[in-house]
Structure formats: C-alpha cells, structure tokens
Symmetry: C2
Subunit: 203 residues, 2 copies
C-alpha cells in the first residue's frame, strides 16, 4: 500500500503567485493532485466540469452541505464555493499530495478536519514589493488600491496559524522549496508509524 498523501493548503497575499506555484508543482512532479472545488457559479467560456470546478446547482450544493460532503464551504458574491471531501480523501489514499488553494477561514476549517494537513502561506519578498503589486501600474483608482490594501491586511492577520511562511522571489526556486517542504513533511515521525512499527517488531 502506498504511503498516505499529505493535504497541502496554500494561502497568501494576492499577487504572491499562488496560481503559478501550483502550476509549477503539478507540471514538474506527478506526486501532486489539485483539489477541485464545487461551485454554484455558472461555468465560464472554456471551463470544464471536473477541471476548473465541479459545477452544481444551488440545490445540489446545499444537499452536499447537508450530507457532510464538503470539508469547508463559503459564500462569495452570491455563489457557493466548497471543497468536496471525497476527491481529497481518494487522492490522499492513493498516496498523492493534494494541493488546495484557499483563504484563511477555509484553511483553518481544513486543519480542523485534516489535522495532519500542511498550511503554507505564500508572500512576495518584501512589503515594498507587495505594495507595488497591490498598487498596480498606477492606473488603478485610489478606491481599488485601498480595497486591495484592506484585503491584504485581512489576509495578513492569520499568518501565525500557518505551518510555513514561504517567500516567492523566483518561481522555480519557490516551487523547489515547497516541494522540499513536502518531502520533509513525509519524513515526520508521526507519518512514519507503519515503518517504525515494522522495524520495532523486528527487534
């Protein structure tokens, strides 16, 4: 039987490069699977059922909530978004590390249901760089910039709840670092119980 996979939850400031990191990990290593969210939002052009999202009606989504089929869910601009439990558990049991991109409230819910999950917060290299990205090219209105700043301040509140704080300066180095973190996590003693017991029983 394959060793169980690890659930990796990735959060971080807007503009930290979360999407690029996930893409890099999935392209470079076949040990990862991306968790696919369920949503009641309508598919956009080019989006495929089961690739970008599992598209659900409001009734279907609420039935999933009732049946406990979602690890976490939230409502955003009038639509539901949630993480189906079955897909995550299936991939983990196949020994794949499942990546989930989600904000802090969802991340903490995940940690509650999957205490062995790894929470990682991604950040640009400096406050100055973060501010530069939030301010955009100077073409944004003051209101837009200010709302991004407020959002970033909110995102920054929970960083201490995360296991790792990773700086994305250069995407390839960053992906390597995150992959290194996952390899190290696989060497944690509590994840090696089966091997430890096997060696112990041979003494």
């Amino acid at each position: 039987m394959a060793e169980k996979g690890i659930l990796l939850v990735v959060s971080g400031f807007s503009g930290a490069g979360k999407g690029t990191l996930l893409k890099a990990l999935l392209e470079k290593y076949d040990s990862y699977a991306l968790s696919i969210s369920a949503t009641t939002r309508a598919p956009r052009a080019g989006e495929q059922e089961g690739r970008e999202y599992f598209f659900k009606t409001r009734e279907e989504f609420e039935a999933m909530i009732q049946a406990g089929e979602l690890v976490e869910y939230a409502s955003y601009v009038g639509n539901y978004y949630g993480t189906p439990r079955a897909y995550v558990e299936e991939q983990l049991s196949l020994g794949r590390d499942v990546i989930l991109e989600i904000e802090i409230q969802g991340a903490l819910k995940i940690k509650e249901h999957f205490p062995d999950s790894v929470l990682l917060f991604l950040s640009p290299p400096s406050a100055k760089e973060l501010r530069r990205r939030l301010e955009g090219r100077g073409t944004e209105s003051r209101e837009v910039v200010e709302s991004r700043m407020t959002r970033a301040r909110e995102e920054a509140v929970g960083i201490e709840e995360y296991d790792y704080f990773v700086v994305n300066d250069e995407i390839h180095a960053c992906a390597e670092q995150v992959h290194g973190i996952m390899q190290s996590e696989h060497a944690r003693a509590f994840r090696s119980q089966a091997l430890i017991e096997k060696i112990r029983s041979g003494l």
Copy 2:
C-alpha cells in the same frame, strides 16, 4: 542580524550511521556547528580540548551543574557527560544550526529547554538490516548480541517523541534529506516572525 539557528538533535539506533551523517553535514555545509560535550572522562590519545570534548574535573563539572550551565547531563560508566549551554546559545545566535548527537532522555531534556529544537531519529532501512548490524559478523558472543538487541529495543521506545524519522540507506542521500529538513524548518512560520512583522507593518 542573522536569522537565529536551529538546534538539531540527532538520535538513532547504534549502527544507523549518526557519526557519518554529522560528518557529511559538517563537511558539505558551513551552516552547521557541532555541539561539543563536557565530560569528566580523561582525554584519550589524539583527543583535543574543545574539539572532541571540553574536559572537566568532577568538581568543575558539578559546579557547572549547580550554576545551570548544562542543558542536560548524564552519568555513564562513572563519568559525567553534558551539554554546555553557552556554546549552543552562542552558535545559535550566530545563525548556525547546531547539531547535537544524544540519546532519548537527553533529547527530551533538550526539547524542554529549547522547544524550537528539531528532534531527528536515524534508522537503518529495515528491521532485517538493523538486526544484521546488531548481530555483527557472527563473531560476537550471544551475550553481546543480546545486550545490543536490548539496547535497540530501549532506543526504539521513544521514536514517537521525535519530529522526524529518517532512514539512512545511502549516506549522501541521507545527508541531503536531513539538510532539506533543516531548510524547510527555517521556513516555519513561527521562525519567520521578524519577516512577517516587517511585511505586515508595510501594509
């Protein structure tokens, strides 16, 4: 100011290759420092004060105990062995990762005094291989083999207390893995407080 170093405590079965691992890490990377023990045992031929050990008289050693200058100490075959606190703290504040090879009781004392330390247990790849090493070349008496077995069973009891369980199959791969673990540990959110605060205050 350099980021603070991490205290790495290495334990493991006899014959797991702890000494070889330490040597490989110290030779390959200059970010590590080896913690040097104090002892009341007499220097052996070729041993140097401050290299293999800090050699102390019984009176000096007991004064160090009284003054709280040892993180942990134990008595073994009539001699004291202990870990001087000053050297460890000095190296950590210089940003070096300090490696300490010690058995479980000492390791747990270290974790008490340095809760941020990393405890790593090293093992041969299998029970069969461990047994083979413990049995030696078949030239050992049954008593010697049996006492090694007893010792290994004792060593195996506390593995769950360790943070990491690392298999030493091939020493270079093993050293790389341990170095990867230490790099990942440096990315833990609780070790990145200064950087997190800096970014947060810039928002």
